[in-house]
Each structure stands twice: as structure tokens, then as C-alpha cells.
């Protein structure tokens, strides 16, 4: 029988998978405004394609944070105080990005728009990168002492392995966003998005393989969960190849599902690899934060389980409905400023 601690570990994983799947594509579209769009109205089309959704997608991150706070307070405390500086940068990026969507169209002035465009680009590039670095760090291990305090220097947080994690997550989000663009736009923009997505699959393939090999040699995650992780890796490979196939065939919906599956499997693999730990200590295995020593009490977890399980269907329901309402493609000749 699943323990409540295990259930909450799974729920946190689901929230992060949901976050990377959903906000993953709007981060990607945000990056595309700086890479793919050739002029202002194309940028506006890209922004409008995620306009109704990005805020709701970001709440997945806030909910994941809230869930960690409530279900695993020690994990929340160690991670948030330990990763202090990267989180400051993450927050600044999310702040700049969030207001940029709202402020950008309010004043007709070149410099004004350019400033907010930079905010949207960097605000969409930095968060997946930083979160990739943080997640890779979870697997590699961090200097966590017997009091559960993480005292990490720059190179504990930023090294070849975690950097690779950051770049991989960023690139996969970009591709996911480009495929989303093929679903929500039309004409030239759509074609260029498709082409760029296909081109970027090659470097992504290299990154994924190198990252998997490094994970095998640099972390202990395969020791306990080698079998499951291998299955996930094979599924990931299949999803990856299928995403390329569907892109070539012009089946954008299926391609989007497959790039989403690559993200879901990758994030899922991180959590499978960690289990039953939530953070690994590089000082001593005895100092690992686990789903038991980092968790809230039984009563608290029970109450939250009831609340979460009764609310999640509604949340999923109206979020799916909102995607249905805005399923039509965005194009340059429609009303774009709100």
C-alpha cells in the first residue's frame, strides 16, 4: 500500500511534470520571440498564442513550491535557503517576464517594446536553465550537513553536470515551444517554427545522450533504480524519435504530445532516480533528505491528500476547457492588443 509520504512525493513529481510540460512550451514560445519572430507583429502573435495560458501554467510551479512547503518542510527549507542566489535570479526573471506580457503593448514606443521583449526573452530562458541546474544538483548531491543545512559554494551548484542539465532543459523547452507555435499560428511563422524545431532535435539528441551517460557515471541514481530508469530512457528515446517523425509528417499535435512526453519522462526520471530521497548529501549518505525525515506529520499529509485529490479534477477540468476555448490559431490580422 502506498504510504502518504510516497503519495506526496508522487504528487510533487506530478506538479513538476505538469509545470515543465505546460510552462515548458510557454517558456519556449517566450524564447522564440527573440529567435524566431522577425518583426513586431510576429512577436505579438507569439505572445498572444500563450497569452491566456502562461499565468495558469506558472501556478503549477507555485503549487509545487507550496506542496513541498506543506508536505516536506525540511526539503523546502534546505532547498530554498541553500539555493539562495539562483532563486533570486529565478524570481527576478519571473517578475520581469510576468509584467512584460502585461506592460509591453501599453505604450507605442520602440525602446519601450524592445525593453519588454528582452525581459520576455531572458525571463523565458533563465527559469528553465536555472531549474535544470537545480534538478541536476539534486541528483548529483549537495553539501548537506547533519542539521539539514546546505552550505553550497558556487561550484557545488554550478559544474559541468548541472550546467548540462540546465542547457538540456532549456533546449527541450524551446523545441516544445516551437512545436506549440506550429499548432497555434499559421503561414510563414508556423513553417519556420517547424523547421527550427526539427533542426534543434539533433543537438538535443547529443545533449540527452551525454547527460544520460554522465548521470550514469556521476550520480548514484542508477544503483537503486537502474531497471526503471532504463525503461524510462527507452521510452524517452521512442518519444524523441516519434517527435521527429511527426514533425516531418506535419502532424503537429502528435509532435507536441511527443516533445511533451520527452519532458515528462525526463522529469519523471529525476524523481524516480531520487526516490526515496528528495535531496542527496554529498557529505554523508546518512544526511540525505528523504521522504520520511523531510516530511510533515501523518495528520497534515492526510488532510492535504483529501484536499488535493478532491480539487485536482476541477483544476484540470477548467484548465483543459480554457485550452479548448482558445484552440483557434492566432494570426497577424486579428485584434492583438489587450
Amino acid at each position: 500500500m502506498l504510504s502518504l509520504n510516497e503519495l506526496w512525493f508522487i504528487l510533487v513529481a506530478v506538479l513538476f511534470i505538469g509545470f515543465f510540460f505546460l510552462e515548458g512550451f510557454d517558456f519556449g514560445v517566450g524564447m522564440s520571440t527573440g529567435i524566431l519572430a522577425k518583426n513586431d507583429s510576429q512577436r505579438r502573435v507569439l505572445i498572444n498564442s500563450i497569452g491566456p495560458f502562461w499565468d495558469g501554467n506558472e501556478v503549477w510551479l507555485l503549487t509545487a513550491g507550496g506542496a513541498i512547503f506543506a508536505a516536506f518542510p525540511n526539503w523546502y527549507a534546505t532547498m530554498f535557503s541553500g539555493y539562495y542566489t539562483p532563486l533570486v535570479v529565478l524570481l527576478l526573471a519571473l517578475i520581469a517576464r510576468g509584467v512584460a506580457f502585461e506592460f509591453r503593448g501599453k505604450v507605442e514606443h520602440g525602446g519601450w517594446k524592445k525593453t519588454w521583449d528582452i525581459c520576455i526573452f531572458l525571463g523565458s530562458l533563465l527559469p528553465p536553465f536555472l531549474l535544470g541546474v537545480v534538478f541536476a544538483g539534486f541528483m548529483k548531491g549537495l553539501p548537506i550537513d547533519g542539521q539539514m543545512e546546505m552550505k553550497a559554494g558556487l561550484f557545488d551548484m554550478v559544474n559541468l553536470y548541472t550546467l548540462l542539465g540546465g542547457i538540456t532543459v532549456t533546449l527541450v523547452c524551446l523545441i516544445h515551444g516551437l512545436v506549440f507555435t506550429t499548432l497555434r499560428t499559421e503561414g510563414e511563422l508556423r513553417e519556420r517554427a517547424r523547421k527550427l524545431a526539427k533542426t534543434l532535435l539533433y543537438p538535443l539528441a547529443v545533449l540527452l545522450v551525454v547527460f544520460a551517460v554522465m548521470t550514469y557515471y556521476q550520480t548514484n541514481v542508477f544503483e537503486a533504480h537502474g531497471a526503471v530508469l532504463s525503461v524510462l530512457a527507452v521510452l524517452g528515446l521512442v518519444a524523441f524519435l516519434l517527435s521527429g517523425y511527426f514533425m516531418t509528417k506535419g502532424k503537429d499535435g502528435w509532435a507536441f504530445g511527443m516533445t511533451g512526453a520527452v519532458i515528462a519522462l525526463a522529469i519523471g526520471a529525476v524523481f524516480v532516480g531520487l526516490f526515496p530521497n528528495v535531496m542527496i548529501s554529498s557529505i554523508d549518505q546518512a544526511f540525505n533528505l528523504t521522504i520520511d525525515n523531510a516530511a510533515s506529520g501523518h495528520y497534515s499529509l492526510k488532510v492535504m491528500s483529501i484536499v488535493a485529490i478532491s480539487l485536482l479534477p476541477f483544476v484540470l477540468g477548467y484548465q483543459i476547457w480554457s485550452y479548448f476555448v482558445f484552440h483557434k490559431r492566432v494570426h497577424e490580422k486579428q485584434h492583438l492588443e489587450y
Binding site: 491566456p52 507555485l62 518542510p73 523546502y76 517578475i95 502585461e102 506529520g297 480539487l311 476555448v325
Partner: protein, 467 residues
């Protein structure tokens, strides 16, 4: 400077800034929902225009509120990790539920509202804005449930060196919550009301879009009057609740060092000297404190010195006196602003009822423009009183602020983030004011121009769009 002090400054600065926008969002979205309801019921385009115009201001404000709110959630773990470890079991639950129940609701339906004018039926579109109202209110409820636990901890036991929840319903039925929640939310409605009144008064003064702003003023001033009045009523019950649960906060906000005597007089103003622990001079209204505390003209209120001795007996040696001057004056500023709001809203309602709004009210209209600041001042000083008055505790009687701070974070890191966030927030604040002024100056009719972006059906791109 040490980590604790910097973390406290950061918490105060970021929370106060965040709370400039939250009440305005709650208040404005409620007014917009009412306007759109009138549009759907009466079918007049003017109400739709009103929902859209005030909606512009709401969205600018909402964006800043949302992005500064993310930091609020992260900050507990970043700067106050020992606090998070100690209370996460109890305090984390309302925060997680807030995200799940309220944030998803408001963020999804605000997206549908902004982009759904042409895609949803009138009624479904109206439902969206009301769901945003529900979302913002639920958000306030859960965050205040968490805050009420800090003021008056209930529903927990201390186990293995941390607070563990043992009664979820006690958290929700916390007496503190049910005086704090209505007081805060009604204050928020008044904030929204005063913004709409102030802007409308300014436009009436300028004689622009008179019908539009007269109607806006009428709707908002009624809300402002009811909300300000009820805020005061719940403020009074909150004060009475404090006498029982946090008498030190009440004594500090009254500047009451020694025994009050029976009946107790209410101190209007005083020169407080925390060093000698007495007031150099004070002006008192007899009987009033007894009445405020117990709703009768007798009864004694405990003083700071007496309470400090009691706390030393209960919690061990230490200084349990909050910053008395700040608590005392923030309380008075809040009450004064609140009273002024009631008077202004009542006079405004009188003018609206007598249909005298557009005539000869130069001074009143000018005053209403400046009165936009009154609820903001009241909200801010109210929170300063609540949070400062609880010091030296983060969770009253359980954990001190000094014990709450992150042990692994250095002063340098906090200083860096403090500077970074304060810079970002200053820029945001300036841009917000700039955009507000711009939107207000343009007025409601500027919308029509952007709404119908003309496209030439015979042009190359126009043809493309049709085909």
C-alpha cells in the same frame, strides 16, 4: 548588519510593497464584476465600457500583484528556513491550498476574461470575472488563515521540536481568522472603491466623459461607504479579540505602560519613551478604552510592564515588548484614515443621491483624488501594527523572530537580494504609476480605437486574413 536584521527589512519591504496591490486587485475586480453584471442584465454598452476601462487598470495592478506574490511564497524558505522547518506542517497547508484552490482559479479565469470577450457568450464571460472574484477572496482567506496561526496559534501540538497540525478545522475556525478576514477583505473593497471614486472625481473635475465617470462614481462610492463602515466594525471586534489573545499588542497600540485603572481612558496622542517605559505626556478620553475593550464603561486593561513580567514567568527571561512607538502610531494612523474614509464616502454618497455630482464640487472632487491614498495608508499601517505588535514572536508564544532566520544564509546574500528586489520593485512601482496615469488620461474612449484595428480587405494581408 546581520542576517536577521536584513531579512526583517526585506520581509517588511517586499510584503508592504506586495500589499499595495493585493487589496486594490480584490476591490477592483469586485467592482468590475458588478459593472459587467449590470451590462449583462441591462444590456447597456456603457457598462461594458466601464468593465473594460477599469479592467485595464485592474490588469496592470494585478500583474504587479502576481509577480511580487511569487517572492512571498519563496521568501519563507529562503530567509526564514528555521521558521519553515518549525511550522511547515501547519503553516504550509494553507499556502498549498491557496495555490491549488485560489491561484489556479484566478489565473485561468483572468486569462479567459481578458482574451474571451469575443469568444465566450456574455453569461459565461461574466461567470469568468465572478470566478476571479471568488479566487481572489479565497486567496485572502487561506493566506489569512496562515497569518492567523502566527497571531493566535491553534490546532497543533509541539512534537519532535516542531509544530504539528492535529486539528485542521481549528485552523479554519480560528477566532482570529474570522475577525481578520472580513476586516482585510472589506478594507480591500474600500480600496478599490476609493480608487474608482478618486479617478472619476478627477475626470469630472476635468469635465471629460461626464456620464461615464458619474456612473462609475455612483457605483463605487456606495461600495466604498458600506465597505469602510464595515471595516471599522470588524476592526473593533478584532481589537476586542486581541485583548484576550495578544494583550501585549493591544497594550502597545494603546501606549499603556502601567495599569490602566478602572474605568480605562483611551489615549488619543502620547509622547512615548521606550527607554524610561512611560509616556512623557498623553491626552486621554475617559471611559473610552474600557468601552472599546469590553463594550461597557468599566473594566481594566493590562499594561505593557505588567504583561512583560507575566511573559517572563511563562516564557523565560527576555524582553517581550514590541516596538511601542511604531505600534501606537500605526494604529492611530489606520484609525484616522479609516474615519476620514467613512466621512468622505458618506458625503460622496449624499452628493450622488442628490444628483449633485457634476456641479460645484471642485474641492470635494480634488479631495477625492487625494483620498485614493487613504485606504492604502490604512492598509499599510494596519499590517505594520499587526506584525510589529506581535514582535518578538513570529508565531505568538511559540517561536521568536530571531530563531526563525535561515542559519545557512549569509548577510551578504540577503543584502544582495534586498538591493536587487528593492531596485526591481522601485522600477515596477514607477512604471505602474506611469501606466495608470496614462490609461486614466486617455480615458474610456481610447479603447474603441485599438478594439477595431482596421484592416483593408483588399490589401495583400487583408486578403490573406479573409481567405
Amino acid at each position: 548588519m546581520d542576517t536577521l536584521l536584513l531579512a526583517r527589512i526585506q520581509y517588511a519591504a517586499t510584503t508592504i510593497f506586495h500589499f499595495f496591490f493585493v487589496p486594490l486587485s480584490i476591490g477592483l475586480v469586485f467592482l468590475i464584476a458588478i459593472m459587467e453584471t449590470m451590462y449583462v442584465v441591462k444590456g447597456k454598452e456603457q457598462y461594458k465600457k466601464m468593465a473594460k476601462f477599469w479592467g485595464k487598470l485592474f490588469l496592470i495592478n494585478f500583474a504587479v500583484g502576481v509577480v511580487t506574490g511569487i517572492l512571498q511564497e519563496f521568501q519563507f524558505g529562503m530567509n526564514w528556513s528555521d521558521y519553515s522547518r518549525f511550522v511547515g506542517d501547519v503553516f504550509g497547508a494553507p499556502l498549498a491550498i491557496e495555490a491549488l484552490l485560489a491561484f489556479f482559479l484566478e489565473s485561468t479565469f483572468i486569462g479567459l476574461w481578458i482574451f474571451g470577450w469575443d469568444r465566450l457568450s456574455k453569461k459565461v464571460h461574466l461567470l469568468c470575472i465572478w470566478l476571479v472574484v471568488v479566487g481572489t477572496t479565497l486567496s485572502a482567506l487561506w493566506i489569512l488563515a496562515a497569518n492567523s496561526f502566527m497571531q493566535h496559534p491553534v490546532g497543533f501540538t509541539v512534537n519532535n521540536g516542531r509544530a504539528e497540525m492535529n486539528d485542521f478545522f481549528a485552523l479554519l475556525s480560528n477566532g482570529q481568522l474570522w475577525v481578520e478576514f472580513p476586516h482585510t477583505v472589506l478594507g480591500a473593497l474600500a480600496t478599490g472603491g476609493f480608487l474608482v471614486c478618486g479617478v472619476s472625481a478627477y475626470k469630472l473635475l476635468k469635465k471629460q466623459d461626464i456620464q461615464f465617470f458619474k456612473k462609475s462614481f455612483q457605483i463605487a462610492v456606495v461600495i466604498a461607504l458600506i465597505a469602510s463602515f464595515l471595516t471599522a466594525i470588524f476592526g473593533h471586534s478584532q481589537a476586542q479579540y486581541l485583548i484576550g489573545t495578544q494583550p501585549m499588542k493591544m497594550a502597545a497600540s494603546e501606549g499603556q505602560w502601567g495599569k490602566s485603572g478602572d474605568p480605562a481612558g483611551w489615549t488619543v496622542i502620547a509622547s512615548i519613551d521606550p527607554d524610561t517605559k512611560q509616556n512623557k505626556y498623553e491626552l486621554k478620553i475617559p471611559y473610552l478604552l474600557s468601552f472599546l475593550a469590553y463594550s461597557k464603561f468599566s473594566g481594566e486593561v493590562k499594561g505593557i510592564n505588567e504583561l512583560n513580567d507575566e511573559y517572563i514567568k511563562t516564557y523565560g527571561p527576555g524582553d517581550y515588548i514590541p516596538p511601542v512607538r511604531t505600534t501606537f502610531w500605526s494604529f492611530r494612523i489606520m484609525v484616522a484614515a479609516g474615519c476620514l474614509m467613512i466621512v468622505l464616502a458618506a458625503y460622496g454618497t449624499y452628493l450622488a443621491a442628490r444628483k449633485k455630482l457634476e456641479r460645484n464640487n471642485k474641492w470635494f472632487n480634488r479631495f477625492m483624488l487625494w483620498a485614493i491614498a487613504l485606504p492604502v495608508i490604512a492598509n499599510t499601517s494596519g499590517w505594520i501594527m499587526t506584525e510589529m505588535g506581535r514582535q518578538p514572536w513570529t508565531v505568538f508564544g511559540l517561536m521568536t523572530t530571531a530563531d526563525s532566520v535561515s542559519p545557512s544564509v549569509t548577510a551578504g546574500q540577503v543584502l544582495f537580494s534586498l538591493i536587487a528586489f528593492c531596485t526591481a520593485y522601485t522600477v515596477l512601482g514607477a512604471i505602474l504609476v506611469y501606466l495608470f496615469v496614462r490609461t486614466i488620461k486617455k480615458g474610456p474612449n481610447a479603447l474603441d480605437k485599438t478594439d477595431n484595428k482596421s484592416s483593408d480587405p483588399f490589401g495583400k494581408e487583408g486578403y490573406h486574413a479573409v481567405s
